[in-house]
Symmetry: C2
Subunit: 631 residues, 2 copies
């Protein structure tokens, strides 16, 4: 075998949020990564800083939430709106509302604000633990992708130290461009960027420590005054970020190189905030930059060279979506590369990275426009705020738009459209057991949060977090009433154990040497099972009630016996929140990134596993299923 030292699974260019998320995931799953960045150090100051509720779910699922929280970020629960007061003498608060209202049912209903550099360091430390490192300051000078020359490592990448003192040429299975809005890789691929909103803006942004008597300085605020508008974002360490729009391309004499000094921006802020005072004790970062809405036409040309994050989409910083969308771009791609490279999914699964993520970016840009307009029209009335925070559905147009905005900014609005992964009535899986009446789970949407009690140790846990980011599909078996579902569980057991089932077809080759303590992947690297009974914890005995293979996942067996404010009088709140029958249960397949793939009835007989086989057969590499007659 030739020298493999310059062969990599992937070359990642750019160590911002998108590149770091991608490397962090792949490093955990054992991939060999070349990661470069053209800066000498992680981000020192400024840049993105808002982690949305959905991103926090993901960071928790990766075990990174404590490291983020150790930096003592700000948490924003409410947004306040300020306008000129009616007496013309200053400002008044016209309303406040929850940044992530209760109807969203987020596990972490707040925006976490922390300097991007701290966030980058959390990822870098985790990557390092798994043997991946960022090589700095290095840049990419060229690349070529050619499957015919080397089908396994089709990508050749030329790298160079920023001062030209050293060069490397490496071969890789994949190349990823997370280099930001001016992506070299995107440009080389001649992928053009289209602008949905023709208006460009120049923004000033300032991070600093301020003394002020403005009462909402620790909340996210939008302040309109006759002297202009600013947005206030509280930050860690008594800092505050102020955004000021300096110019837009609708202005006469618009110049995208428009500029303003630090003191000019401070003077403007003082005027806008009057009669409140504001003084800067220190300015941590100040920048003025032009930004337009743009979206890349393609995210890849050949499913070998990909781009993501700001290389694919740019938009205003107001809704705090940049870093969050970048995280989810990378996350979406990471598990798909894993599924393909480990031989589970067919290569064309990688096409869904662009189709899913580009659709989200389109929505983001639409939203960015609507969001700006929503507040420029009129402030919401108090009754509308209350209505918008409830889960009542008799809403007027304003409230509907607002609710959609909240879902979107929280990250819970991401909805992947139907494809092989996200079942719909167009999917090749046609079993009548699929998507039973009543289910509240929507394919392509995040699984609903629920509290349950783990059987083995009686710990109350967050069900949606119980399976960590391990690259596996999560099969949640809601087993209903254990007296009623005994036969269905037995037949599920039989069906899963059949050698042509999706589950057994991909069993680990080293299955005989797997540790007794392996919790999530004892049988397969592609599936983790969890079983939830609509019973009290003390009424479930694993040895008596749970057949193999579910019983082997002994720390992923739960009692649905916790109360939940969202379904106050429910006896089995997790079943009820999912819209699954607490007597008969149901099987929920959740993609490795947490989005619902398919929901199937749990019934005695071979049909439940058959429906699951149909689903996986639509994208996996082996001929699974066709088992109905053999059970």
């Amino acid at each position: 075998m030739a020298d493999q030292s310059n062969y990599y699974d992937i070359v990642v260019v750019g160590a911002g949020p998108v590149g770091l998320m991608l490397s962090t995931c792949l490093a955990r799953w054992g991939y060999k990564i070349k990661h470069i960045d053209n800066r000498s150090e992680p981000t020192e100051k400024g840049r993105a800083d808002g982690i949305q509720p959905r991103s926090m779910d993901l960071l928790r699922n990766m075990g990174l939430k404590p490291a983020i929280m150790a930096n003592k970020p700000c948490r924003v629960y409410e947004v306040a709106f300020w306008d000129p007061s009616k007496d013309g003498k200053g400002l008044e608060r016209t309303g406040t509302w929850a940044s992530c209202p209760r109807f969203i049912d987020a596990r972490y209903p707040y925006t976490t604000l922390l300097h991007q550099g701290y966030i980058e360091r959390v990822f870098i430390e985790d990557m390092n633990k798994h043997g991946a490192h960022v090589q700095r300051p290095w840049t990419i000078t060229g690349f070529e992708s050619d499957e015919s020359s080397n089908p396994e490592y089709p990508v050749t990448v030329n790298l160079e130290h920023i001062d030209g003192s050293a060069k490397e040429t490496v071969r890789a299975k994949y190349l990823f461009g997370g280099e930001g809005a001016r992506s070299f890789i995107r440009n080389q691929l001649k992928i053009s960027v289209r602008h949905k909103d023709p208006i460009a803006y120049v923004w000033g942004v300032m991070d600093g420590v301020v003394r002020t008597d403005f009462p909402d300085i620790k909340m996210k605020c939008t302040i309109h005054s006759e002297h202009g508008s600013i947005m206030v974002i509280p930050r860690e360490n008594d800092m505050v970020r102020l955004y000021i729009q300096i110019a837009s391309s609708t202005d006469k004499n618009f110049n995208p190189r428009a500029t303003a000094s630090e003191s000019e921006v401070q003077a403007a802020a003082k005027k806008i905030l009057a009669p409140y005072f504001i003084e800067w004790e220190a300015v941590d970062w100040f920048s003025v930059y032009p930004i337009g809405q743009g979206i890349a036409d393609r995210y890849t040309l050949d499913e070998r060279v990909f781009i993501g994050g700001d290389a694919c989409h740019t938009h205003s910083p107001k809704a705090g979506q940049g870093m969050n969308t970048a995280f989810l771009d990378a996350h979406n791609l990471a598990w798909k590369i894993h599924a393909v490279e480990k031989g589970f999914a067919r290569r064309d699964l990688l096409k869904t990275y662009e189709s899913e993520r580009r659709h989200v970016a389109e929505n983001l840009l639409d939203f960015d426009n609507r969001y700006a307009k929503l507040f420029s029209q009129r402030p919401p009335a108090a009754g509308e705020v209350r209505a918008a925070s409830s889960s009542d559905s008799s809403d007027n147009e304003f409230i509907k738009t607002f609710k959609a905005s909240c879902e979107f900014t929280s990250g819970y609005g991401v909805a992947y459209t139907p494809n092989a992964l996200n079942w719909s009535s167009e999917h090749p899986a046609r079993s009548l057991l699929i998507h039973p009446a009543g289910t509240k789970l929507r394919t392509g949407r995040i699984m609903i949060n629920a509290n349950v009690t783990r059987i083995t140790d009686s710990n109350p846990v967050h069900l949606e977090q119980e399976i960590p980011l391990n690259g596996s599909f999560r099969i949640f078996i809601f087993a209903g009433n254990l007296e009623k579902t005994r036969d269905a569980l037995r037949d599920l057991s039989k069906g899963l154990s059949h050698k042509k089932s999706f589950y057994t077809a991909y069993k680990r080759s080293d299955i005989d040497s797997v540790s007794w303590f392996e919790r999530h992947n004892p049988h397969s690297h592609f599936f983790t099972l969890a079983t939830i009974f609509a019973s009290l914890r003390r009424d479930v005995e694993i040895a008596r009630d749970v057949p193999e293979p579910m019983s082997r996942y002994r720390d992923s067996i739960y009692a649905d016996d916790q109360s939940d404010d969202m379904v106050p009088n429910s006896r089995a709140s997790a079943h009820e929140k999912m819209g699954l029958c607490p007597e008969n249960g149901g099987v929920v397949v959740v993609r490795p990134d947490g989005y619902v793939g398919i929901v199937v009835k749990l019934e005695p007989g071979p049909e439940t596993v058959s429906a699951l086989n149909q689903y996986f057969a639509s994208f996996c590499t082996k001929d699974v299923g066709g088992l109905a007659s053999q059970l």
Copy 2:
């Protein structure tokens, strides 16, 4: 001035839980500490490992909870009881119950199990950040305490490297012995240890990684079989601790040096657990040791040399109280030393260390006896378990004992008896405003947990955690209905601002240079104020509704608008849980260690501050109060 390099505020001997807690507190408050330990390294294996709910409150209040949790400890929510099955063929579970039932209303209703070495390291890292270090392996060889020779540094301590290669003599204001059951300092002081229970026991304890099909291996279990009894305690990293009683002094031929080999204990455990199998993959620690119940007659002779932790009290390991009692010993002493040394409290406050903590130890030993007997009599019936978990008070004797046990083991049962700090009708403070009818707060008991919303940033917070361990008394001003209490708040403001009030009499000498961002101690090192309105957050405007000095504590002003399951239909759940009127409020003084000192009505006029002056005058150094006529 002579060379001060060998002068210390305190010499602490022993770096177990009690010594480390003491140094960690005092280091944060700026004291110069000489801390020695005769071991070369922190505890490597074994020893104590259970952090009770009350101790977790304290660790959280010190900001140390995340560092503890980063070690991924086990959490025990339930205790299971196993007895020989009725058919004589094996074991059966006779019941399970919550280790910290709902009626206790603990913030963290579980026991956290983690190897003592990890816990020690969390303290050591925190001490190091504040400039204090443990000098190892050094021991104490002698000491003398003589106020006449040096009133400021009366204690002379001789220290020596364990190998005799180096010696030091240092002078200190205080000496603390946290050296464990065989305390040199206690022995030198000729303080005797009395044994309440004449029975001594020999225990075997084994930490190991086990494979077993025993279903409750991840819960705390007491298992009785015809072959003997064991106690199971789950641990981090798939470990399990087993306790086996090997002999007691009621046995014929009792020998306190009784011993058993690792394999003998394993063989015994296998017999007891049959028909379940158990196999050890690894043994981390194994020890056999005799232990008796003992309590030191005194904790100090002159309030200069103190002892705490195991040096003062020893008992069986079953209820997991050793480390927790040690934490609270140290915590109790730390703030009292601080209050005396900084000139706030009279020196005789230090006498309350022994009176308060020795009383708790007496209760602990009584409890240790009762706890053992409770379960040897009979297992509880299911109905009794349910009743015991509710807050219903129509209980039989068994349930009463059980409830008291749960309170005790959770750490919430600690009740300091009346003295200058813990108001009672015998206290010199006699104002009729004290202890208003209806209050549910009990002096000498921990403050009740409550959720409120911080005004400045809309964050929902844990009120009892909002003021960190800063050595200050916590003055919680429950301000009721802001329309009703406007006059009372104005008069409270006036009273506090009077130069002879307890509050202003101890104002900081550097008050003019205090930072805008100082949150908890802008005026005084001895008091932190917090104000809670029985209103919705949006109805409170600090500038309009909160007078000085309360308004200066701008991040400690709250709306009592969060719901609480313990008082489901309440409009102001924090007020209601405390038993304070949601219209008129009340003032609660909480000691620096979290125990309630006094509750006073909030009324217009001078009497509220006058009652508080009376309280503090009973132990502070200045002549505060006597202000009624001057307001």
